[in-house]
Chain length 246, copies 2
DNA sequence: ATGTGAGGTCTTGTATACAGTCTCCTAAAC
DNA sequence: GTTTAGGAGACTGTATACAAGACCTCACAT
């Protein structure tokens, strides 16, 4: 078309190789925190971590220059990260004005539980329907890690393992778009969790265990019911802590 | 902290002004296709449009240089757009290799219906619960536009109005994260719609109307049931067209 | 003929540079 | 005293430049 493709010009085999890379990239991204290959990925993860941990407070301005300097990179990776975090709802971007950490009102936090009940209920049902032994094993492994973290009193990690468990359920559902959608949703849930539900950090474990059993047993109705009950319990706890119990 | 904030350094009033801008930005983005203020927004919208329309085929490579040249911009806005579309699931990015238009297999397209049933069912229920007259009016207006488009035979626009209707339901639910989540989901649904369900382009209108009525009446159960039935009907139609009917 | 390595081209990732815009502060005019 | 123009500073948006990696081609060895 435009004469640029003069030389070698992407042949057919490139696509095969690319597909392989795609698979490995997905695997690494799903199983672990991902072995970051680019600065942008690291910056995104770091900014997200700082937002979730509260290191970057709600409403705080995100000035590209300063973040770039603080992280030792140029503005470009920072900009792309901010755009990504914006689509995930962690950052509010206003054209030509700037970006700020999103403000999560109590009402919005509460609204999130409605979405989670619908989506996580579906994920649990689909996971039970699949009834994959490998997925069940993974759920148990994550639960074990969470239990150890609770016993060792490493409370910061408990939140991470909680999210990991929910993410594992999402992936066990075997629905790629559901997984894509749930990742940011669960991180948002962790954001809420980090700010409020300190008291509940032990409780959720037994609920996770019972959900895990229902999934492993392939009982769709029970799995969905337990997932829904689990999120509903978290909501009650949240409402109680924020003084808006009904 | 770091001595940079020497000069004026964002005072207190800036936040007020910024809040106003935020509101107007949200409004324009929600009500219309948004009066794009930056090249990046335009590029994102254009690329998304080309993907949804099939102009950019599934699996097609997205070479930053070429897209930038084709759109008459530099690589930067294109890169940011690609990252955004990646989080929405329209583009598959592999570090250091490149980006391609996502490949939506028949199985993945089918899986999307499961998610839609759960999410759109919730949206309809919440919208009915809100029972906002303004939202109901908006639903009727979109329906009217869709009807006119059907009668005038402008089939390309029918798909857009369909999506508009579903988006209006999402916004009527008054749950900000649900809206954020549903926007890309509905666009993905339109992607599927554009490729297959040509035959159903008239049918959906009556189903939309009945959903609209249930929402306006504030009947939560009925609204959810009709939304679920609507998506389920679309799935049946999809399965029939792809020859995978059960 | 098949497998293997070096060179070249293309493309991405990152950094830097420039232009436009927004905000704030100051100062003059009414 | 209040309001309104003007200018300086800061930050975003966009473009350009440079570095590094990946893929293809071709030659060479087995």
């Amino acid at each position: 078309m435009d004469g640029r493709r003069a030389g070698g010009g992407g042949g057919g085999r490139a696509l095969v190789v690319r597909a392989l890379y795609t698979i490995s990239a997905l695997m690494s991204d799903m199983t672990l925190g991902a072995s970051h290959q680019t600065l942008r990925d690291e910056v995104t993860a770091e900014l997200r971590r700082r937002i979730l941990s509260g290191e970057l407070g709600q409403g705080e301005r995100l000035v590209e220059d300063r973040l770039a300097a603080a992280l030792g990179v140029s503005r470009n990776p920072v900009r792309e990260s901010i755009r990504i975090l914006s689509t995930e709802g962690f950052v509010q971007v206003v054209p030509r004005i700037g970006a700020t950490v999103a403000v999560l009102s109590v009402e919005e936090a509460e609204e999130l539980f409605d979405v989670r009940i619908a989506v996580e209920g579906l994920a649990a049902r689909l996971a039970a329907r699949k009834r994959s032994p490998a997925a069940a094993d993974r759920l148990r492994r994550v639960l074990e890690q969470a239990r150890e973290a609770v016993e060792a009193g490493r409370l910061e990690q408990v939140a991470d393992y909680n999210t990991d468990f929910h993410l594992a359920v999402a992936e066990a559902a075997g629905n790629s778009y559901l997984t894509l959608m749930m990742k940011p949703m669960l991180q948002r849930a962790q954001w809420v969790f980090n700010r409020t539900a300190a008291a509940r950090k032990g409780d959720s474990w037994s609920e996770h265990l019972s959900l895990c059993e229902a999934v492993a047993a392939g009982d769709e109705d029970e799995a969905q019911a337990r997932a829904v009950a689990h999120v509903a319990a978290a909501r009650r706890s949240f409402l109680a802590e924020t003084g808006r119990a009904r």
